[in-house]
Symmetry: C2
Subunit: 514 residues, 2 copies
């Protein structure tokens, strides 16, 4: 086989590309000898290999990609129907070469090259930690994390999945928490259309994988990538009736290597080792340590990594965690956790807007919005979910579909304010505590300083502004979204008259800069 044969879109990827207007591969330019790919898009090598034996286990395949002095090795995977694949995400513009290593002669020692061209507009690259407590895209653009949750959307009807993408496209949410395994829980009592492993009766055949199951996940992750949403992939979870929370260790590890090989070249991937790791009774802390090592070792692109707990808070200071993905409603802890852990803190789950009987799923819209403000005012991030009862029993939190609540519009408003703030310049958002309550966040460069007053309603206040700067002030009602410029200019020790209403936020912006 020659290189032109080997490098091709697989059939499903072609379908996804057509549905989703994916940018890769772009047409080869006349001046280029081979195919070209956009920076941070994924390259896919597709090989014909051995047809005999257990091709998921017996055949090893990896490829090393080289750009100037740098090389990155990634694992390949068997995708069924005789197709062995290697996926890669080039992060530099220019010519990359690659070589394969395999225990199968037909797959070993293959090599080739491709051109990486500048990213198309809207492709900002993968997200990583920036300024200790925040996130940014690889192209330097700040990423103001604003997440939501559709745990089991991958296992719903095609129509609902399509609707979920449409809803997300017009929502403020730029990260989605989703499970890779199907879910069995309240409002989630049906069999998935497919299983990750061949299944007969109640028995899983863990010696192999069901490629169609994972190809479907490929499509969904790429759809999220297309609309600019980070896919926060939950690798394990306890809401299971099929056995996936209690697989043998070697199956856990093989599963991890498989999904890493499949998905890590997708720039929008984040890894969450688990949802509620402490509810997986058959896993020990040694298991979680091993999973963390596997993810860190096999992911050639160093995607963001965290883990989510139910009762027992994970020790987020551990090195493998890039950020904390907490389940907690104690928003008042945000600043101290941030300071202790010295990492971004994301309240991935702090209860959801909705009206179901379960207390974690019946926050009012204002309560949900308030938690976003409390997180933001402490320089941390919050996560959304929605659980309104519906006649079809389609709840956004698990199934996706459409949003019914009032908080997304108010969260969008906050995200917009934060993005304007972040755009002012580099440097982390700091935290200003007043007395015993978290209320203020500011830019250390002093261009934007804001306070969130929560249930407080002062009619006046004294604010200590950085020396030598002059500010305008604006009062924002976070419930009505009314914005009221306050008269005059402020500097030094500023005495400010306030409306004296609760749920307010005061914004100082440096004149001529912010």
């Amino acid at each position: 086989m020659n290189r032109r044969d080997m490098i091709k879109l697989s059939s499903f990827a072609a379908a996804a590309a057509s549905a989703a207007s994916l940018p890769e591969p772009v047409e080869a330019q006349d001046s280029q000898p081979g195919p070209s790919y956009g920076r941070w898009d994924h390259v896919e090598l597709d090989f014909e290999g051995p047809a005999e034996g257990n091709r998921f286990i017996d055949v090893t395949l990896s490829a090393t990609f080289q750009y100037l002095h740098r090389s990155i090795t990634v694992q390949g995977f068997y995708d069924g129907e005789g197709s062995y694949k290697v996926r890669f995400m080039p992060d530099e513009v220019g010519v990359w070469t690659w070589t394969t290593v395999s225990n199968a002669p037909a797959l070993n020692g293959q090599s080739g090259s491709f051109e990486c061209v500048p990213a198309q507009p809207g492709n900002r690259g993968p997200v990583s930690v920036r300024d200790s407590y925040h996130f940014g895209y690889a192209d330097g653009t700040p990423f103001v994390e604003c997440g939501t949750t559709c745990y089991a959307w991958a296992f719903q009807s095609e129509a609902t999945q399509k609707q979920t993408i449409e809803t997300l496209s017009s929502s403020p949410f730029n990260k989605l928490r989703m499970c890779l395994f199907p879910k069995w829980y309240q409002h989630n009592r049906k069999e998935p259309p497919m299983y990750p492993f061949p299944r007969s009766g109640e028995t899983n055949d863990y010696s192999t994988f069901n490629p169609a199951y994972f190809q479907h996940l490929d499509r969904l992750i790429l759809e999220l990538r297309r609309i600019g949403v980070q896919a926060d992939l939950i690798l394990f979870h306890p809401y299971d009736k099929w056995g996936y929370q209690s697989m043998p260790a070697e199956v856990d590890d093989r599963y991890l290597r498989y999904v890493i090989a499949r998905f890590s070249a997708f720039r929008n991937v984040w890894w969450s080792l688990a949802n509620e790791y402490d509810l997986l009774r058959d896993k020990s802390s040694a298991d979680w340590d091993r999973f963390a090592r596997i993810v860190a070792e096999y992911d050639g692109f160093d995607h963001l990594r965290s883990i989510h707990y139910c009762f027992h808070q994970y020790e987020y200071t551990r090195g493998w965690c890039t950020h904390a993905g907490v389940q907690d409603s104690r928003m008042e802890m945000a600043a101290s956790w941030r300071a202790d852990w010295r990492k971004p803190v994301v309240f991935d789950e702090c209860k959801y807007e909705g009206n179901i009987a379960s207390r974690w799923g019946n926050l009012s819209a204002d309560a949900m919005t308030r938690r976003f403000w409390l997180a933001a005012a402490q320089g941390t991030y919050c996560g959304h979910g929605e659980t309104y009862l519906s006649p079809e029993d389609i709840l956004w939190w698990s199934h996706g579909g459409v949003l019914h609540g009032q908080s997304p519009a108010k969260i969008a408003f906050l995200r917009q304010l934060l993005e304007e703030t972040i755009a002012v310049g580099p440097g982390p958002i700091g935290f200003t505590a007043i007395a015993d309550d978290p209320v203020g966040a500011r830019r250390p460069n002093g261009a934007v300083i804001f306070y969130y007053f929560d249930e407080h309603q002062a009619a006046e206040g004294t604010y200590f502004l950085p020396e030598g700067k002059t500010y305008t002030a604006e009062y924002i009602n976070t419930v009505t979204l009314a914005r009221t410029p306050l008269p005059g200019e402020y500097s030094g020790t500023a005495e400010v008259k306030l409306p004296g209403t609760p749920w307010g936020s005061l914004w100082f912006r440096e004149k001529g800069i912010a």
Copy 2:
């Protein structure tokens, strides 16, 4: 001197009685040989004694009161102008006799008797702890504590003091926190009309007392008694410019004995050793231990005793504390503190409704009300205060006057609900935790069970009602005060449809009983 001369109203008490329609002494009945007093009213013995020396220190005076087999000894005090007094609160109907002991021959060995007659309507006796976590009057009536705060009302104009009494009379508040020493703090920057000790320039004469200062406090406490308000007397506090927070130990102790001798016969007295004890830098824990012992030893009527902190929570398990009088905004801690301390928990200070710049004084009315509900739903009690800016700088929290806020009406509504509940029958209010949030309180006898939903808005819920009982259900909106009976009857595992709005409370009442 004969007994008829000795037992008389002092001039100020006569004035107070006339102003306040005090019930004692009632007219002697024809069948009685001497004066008679209502049960739980105060008897005052008034003696002429030595005119030479330091009559506050050199002359000792006590009296032992006897009723059948019981005897109670109380200290007397010098009230100026040659008048030595002993005050006593009889708690049993019948004939009491008394005898004095003094180092002054003229005051020693005096004796007499009086008739204690049944209490007049509205006089329910002093309040003490009931059912471990609650309070009750001596006549058996439950006391649903509902406090407010006017720290320095005793040192305001006569007109403001009068207004404070009028305001309290039509308010839901049945306990008032007030300082015995004048206060120097923001919004409190004026000299009091009188000082507790003679004062010359910046020097206090601690060898004596200013009786007029304490006679004024007598009047105010009796005015509160008249309108049915408990006087939670704060014995020390740090907001001081005159030296009262740093007096020599023997002066502290003499001051305590003096105010106990004066005030403890007033049935509405509660003792608070301090406001923010931990801010009195010159006091050690040994001092607070000694103060606690003095109060417990010299108060013959065992009034309620507690202490209030700023940063360092007091160890409320200590024996001398009858209840906890916390300063804290962590309402979610109420149930666990109650369980740990096994005493009534009163959030005497959890911030105030108002709009001043200080964060402790700018809660919205709904936030203040919410804290009362959170306390009540955990079987504890909350305290109110109000700090709205005013042109005259009269803020209820310190000065009294009038109330401007919206929370008192909503708090009154809650108090009414709780009193109806408590009236159903004996037994403590229990606590029901659902998941990680405090939301429910119930009567263990099962006649009334209620839940507070806070910012949650479930549209349905399952409630586990005691077996063998049938209930009606009512949904209460704690913000609008709308009450909505829910259709049908409920028993066992009750599935309830709810309005799905936040700030709701669900009440189950046993049919035919509650």
